[in-house]
């Protein structure tokens, strides 16, 4: 059936017919193939948390604070308890009696599970109801009577450190201000010296740049089903988590449950983007409810709860400065950041990196010195600061440097492409130690840049732009060149709550030559069931469709830290390749026995083991699998079976990069921005499944257009969140994005077993500055050098009138 919409012919975003032959191949290893999980997902047969139904299951709903900052005077729950279908009503005081009212965050702060003393952000959890059905639970919330006493909230982050600002975190002993942490990177003195020199002999550019608060907004909201088995006391938690193993350990620490009595199952997940890394109060409430009542309890957020209370991202107010020579050689970069962390520091980042990996703000450029300083503060807003598809704050870092390079180009009246080409780290400089201490593993930037410029026809576009400017039309071309640091991380430097960021992996080959690989990471839509089967297939020659990928169940998978920060392929992907090599080594020994040749004389190629120089004598991995489990002797000293397990500790992060170019047209009368074209050339090292890579890039680019043009979590002066629905918090649709044009170069990671670098977040990181740079470039005739996101028609128009205000 075709539905034609009259009048939609203006939408020129025609989707090219997919080349099925291209994607439906069945490679034995790397290459395009359709995703193994899609027959389930596209037919609506996935099993998500909310699909879990258990006998006798009860439903939990959370009462949230209407105010951003208020003391709780009293809570009367008698009317709610009297509701005929209500099983329990629990307040912060009830939890405090069990010592469960507070829990640790992933950043060594604490967060209230249910507020006891006061509420610190609008929609904070205050009490919960457990009832026989979802409707009754929600009805009973209205029967709880809470008396609040208003306290002035801290909403404008710029006033959080004022002497007279109300103290938000008076729960922390001795806290006399709203300061959360201070962080520094680079060499201040060396940087200041370069700036002093540039002030005399070169040029300094300065700009205030805001990365507004945004939200991951996964289509599936967060939730869980908690089931405490009454005899054994074992908790099974079906949960929307990107990091099931890390969550298990944290629950053991919070709830005091022994870790072997906790099983976390992350079923299909409808998008995560970092939103499903933290542990939210709702999960803890459901566990407590099941413990207390002895029945399974389901908690699922509604859309509003997800947007207003769960981990936001960004919210950095940055001053950027570049010192350069007059002919455009960048010498030093300096930044000062004010970071809004909301009411509790819930950032998900390795412990030693409170600002995530923001330290890579020096970008892709070879410079003399750099320095960053950051003050993070508490405000009366929802907690978080999650890795929203940002590889731990690299989104902010890349936005800062790529916006600043354009600011420099503006002042120097230089072409922004030329300026970037002039400053790139050169291929022979890798591995490159950045001025803030990051060891870039490999890179070859100029070919990626040139490829993007060729694909988009850069020179012709500049000519077109010149013609249009003559006629008063507004057209802009924006470039961003990014380098990410992903795949956290080496356990010597990186841990979350003391858990090292290494990943286990286990591979078993069954007697008939089929296999199962067990992972610690957890897909939220990225296609792990395909990619990881392909990684194993590439190493041992079993076709991907014969390899089952098991993940998301802590009882059935080895320990590891989970999927975020583009770490699955860099860390668990390496583990999968290495565990397969371990199995292959054993297979080779078995093959030597079967072929009656020495191990050294056996060579392996694509699933077949041959005697060197006698290609007729060969066995396949399937033959070997049967032999490994079958009757008859194996080579001496070898145990039966064909399986292995490893734990991979990455030597370094991996550094994917890319060149993005965006073309926009702006209606000069209405200030509406139309993204006309977007070319993305990515280098994520070795490519496993190019189709999946393109899918990740398409998603990230769409995300970036959303942040650049429309997304923002905003608040009024009293701290009311104004973005509590998808009609208020806008995310882009197919109508706002062009037909994406993707390309790639391949610069393998030297230390990763298969040379792969990770692609999950590249496009989210790289696209916002490309779009913003394009819009600002279009506004050049108005003398505009900078404008903040989100570039809604109103904001663009106000900027054109000279009335730009920061989105704070």
């Amino acid at each position: 059936m075709t539905i034609t919409e009259p009048g939609v012919e203006e939408n020129a975003n025609a989707v090219p017919t997919p080349d099925n032959n291209l994607n439906d191949q069945k490679p034995t290893g790397f290459g395009r193939m359709l995703r193994k999980e899609d027959p389930r997902l596209v037919r609506g047969l996935g099993q998500f948390c909310d699909d879990v139904e258990l006998p006798g299951m009860l439903h939990l709903a959370i009462l949230r604070s209407p105010m951003a900052h208020a003391r709780i005077v009293s809570i009367d729950k008698t009317a709610a308890e009297a509701h005929p279908k209500v099983k329990a009503v629990i307040t912060g005081a009830d939890l405090a009696a069990q010592n469960l009212a507070w829990m640790p965050t992933l950043s060594n702060d604490v967060q209230a599970v249910l507020a006891t003393d006061k509420v610190r952000f609008q929609h904070q959890e205050v009490a919960f109801v457990v009832a026989e059905d979802r409707y009754s639970a929600r009805d009973a919330l209205e029967l709880i009577d809470v008396e609040y006493e208003w306290i002035d909230p801290v909403i404008d982050v710029r006033k959080a450190l004022d002497a007279d600002a109300p103290i938000i975190r008076d729960d922390l002993e001795g806290k006399t201000n709203n300061h959360c942490f201070e962080w520094e990177a680079g060499d201040k003195d060396a940087t200041d010296a370069v700036f002093a020199d540039a002030a005399e002999n070169g040029i300094i550019v300065t700009e205030d740049i805001v990365y507004p608060r945004v939200h991951p907004a996964p289509m599936e909201t967060c939730g869980c089903v908690a089931d405490v088995e009454r005899v054994s006391g074992k908790l099974t938690l079906w949960s929307t988590t990107q990091a099931p193993h890390a969550h298990r350990t944290v629950y053991a620490l919070v709830a005091g449950l022994p870790e072997h009595k906790i099983r976390i199952i992350a079923p299909d997940i409808g998008g995560g983007f970092g939103n499903k890394v933290p542990i939210y109060p709702g999960y803890v409430c459901a566990i407590v409810a099941s413990l207390v009542i002895g029945k399974p309890v389901k908690w699922m957020e509604d859309r509003t709860e997800n947007l207003v209370s769960t981990g936001f991202a960004r919210d950095y107010i940055m001053r950027g400065e570049i010192a350069a020579t007059k002919d455009g050689k960048i010498r030093a970069i300096r930044t000062n950041v004010l970071a809004d962390h909301g009411a509790f520091n819930g950032t998900a980042a390795p412990v030693k990196y409170p600002a995530g990996f923001f330290g890579v703000f020096t970008g892709s450029y070879d410079i003399e010195a750099a320095h960053a300083h950051m003050d993070a503060v508490y405000t009366n807003k929802a907690p978080g600061g999650v890795a929203y598809a940002c590889s731990f704050r690299i989104t902010e870092a890349v936005y800062l440097i790529e916006r600043m390079v354009d600011v420099l180009a503006y002042d120097l009246e230089m072409d922004p492409a030329e300026l970037r080409l002039k400053n790139f780290i050169q291929p022979e400089q890798f591995p490159y130690m950045s001025k803030t201490g990051w060891l870039y593993d490999s890179g070859d930037y100029e070919p990626a840049m040139r490829k993007a410029m060729d694909m988009i026809g850069y020179d012709e576009l500049r000519k077109e732009q010149a013609d249009k400017r003559e006629r008063g039309e507004l057209m802009g071309i924006g470039i961003a060149f990014f380098t990410e640091a992903v795949g956290a991380g080496p356990r010597k430097d990186m841990d979350i709550l003391g858990l090292g960021m290494a990943d286990g992996c286990e591979l078993r080959v069954h007697p008939t030559g089929k296999a199962v690989v067990r992972l610690s990471v957890k897909t939220q839509g990225q296609g792990h069931e395909t990619t990881f089967a392909q990684i194993v297939a590439e190493e041992i020659g079993i076709p991907p469709e014969d390899i089952d990928v098991v993940h998301g169940d802590t009882d059935n998978t080895p320990f590891g830290l989970g999927t975020y920060g583009s770490r699955s392929t860099p860390v668990s992907g390496a583990a999968a390749a290495l565990v397969a090599r371990k199995v292959r080594d054993k297979a080779q020994i078995i093959a030597s026995g079967m072929l009656e040749a020495s191990v050294a004389d056996i060579e392996y190629e694509a699933g077949t083991f041959r005697v060197k120089g006698d290609p007729e004598k060969s066995v396949t991995i399937q033959d070997i699998a049967m032999k490994a489990h079958g009757a008859g002797d194996l080579p001496e000293g070898l145990e039966g079976g064909l399986e292995a397990q490893i734990c991979y500790n990455p030597e370094n992060l991996t550094y994917p990069f890319g060149a993005y170019i965006c073309v926009v047209d702006i209606d000069s009368g209405t200030a509406e921005v139309k993204v006309r074209r977007f070319v993305a050339v990515d280098d994520c090292g070795t490519q496993i499944n190019p189709m999946i890579i393109e899918g990740q890039v398409h998603g990230g680019l769409t995300d970036g257009v959303g942040m650049a043009l429309m997304e923002m979590i905003s608040f009024d002066d009293e701290g009311n969140c104004l973005s509590g629905s998808l009609m208020d918090y806008l995310i882009p649709t197919a109508m706002e994005v062009p037909d994406w044009e993707t390309g790639h170069t391949v610069t393998p990671s030297p230390h990763h077993p298969i040379g792969a670098k990770g692609i999950g977040e590249s496009a989210t990181v790289g696209s916002p500055p490309a779009v913003v740079n394009a819009v600002v470039d279009a506004l050049k005739p108005y003398g505009i050098r900078h404008a903040d996101m989100p570039l809604t028609p109103s904001r663009v128009w106000e900027t054109m009138q000279g009335n730009h205000t920061p989105p704070i």
């Binding site: 009259p6 979802r134 409707y135 509604d302 209405t670 509406e672 043009l709 429309m710 109103s794």
Partner: protein
Amino acid sequence: MQVPAPFEYERATSVDHAIALMERLGSEARVVAGGHSLLPMMKLRLATPEYLIDINDLSAELEYIRIEGAEVRIGALTRHRQLLESDDLAAVLPIFRDAEKVIADPVVRNRGTLGGSLCQADPSEDLSAVCDAVGASCVIRNSSGDRVVSMHDFHRGPYETAVADGEMLTEIRIPLRPGSSSAYHKVERRAGDWAVASAGAAVTMDGDVIADGRVGLCAVGPNLTNVEPISAALRGQAPSEELYALVGQIAADNADPSTDTRGTAAYKTHLAKELTIRSLRKAVARATGQA
């Protein structure tokens, strides 16, 4: 999942049945048409009606677009999608298709209705501006019969209309005159979003001059129906860019928008002018066979 408060529900079998139910149940009863305004409010518990009277079975009585002589009659239960797709309607009143292309998204347009849109009376709602521009009148029925009111009298303010308890909107009537055409322009932050601001214009040409012209505005202030000075300024004038600019300025002067997350008051005021100019330009071009 957001869940509404408890309510009782009945499907009406005829318009008379619906009206009888409403008379009996009083102010706690609400009609549900497409449900795309009412149900989201109920799920957020911003609306908690005790009774819902579902009129979706009343297509035979309420779902039609009839072009009869010098009048177009549209039933209150006509869906956005039908207004979008009707070639006959687009031929005489192209403003409907212009507007429907940018109202909500296909999911909402498949169910949402003309009657629901007008009765919701959201200040950012597009079809009120459309109906206002084309000089529509509204047929309201109660147990004692029909009454017909102008758009000006229909709109009492944000979320308030002339439809009283025990009454229903059944039909919209639009006069057709030769030499006429119309157009609509909207600025939204994203496809499917409510208007930042929008403007519709309808003109009737008499040779080289505009015999009659009207402009309807949306999202630029409460109750901005029938901007009489605009009609006065257009009457008997030859179309020109100067005239459009003048009229656009009157629209801006009459606009009283507020600053919100969709945009600043200054920007919306600017749009009242800009979109009025564009709509007038296009309506005249269409009426004179140039578009």
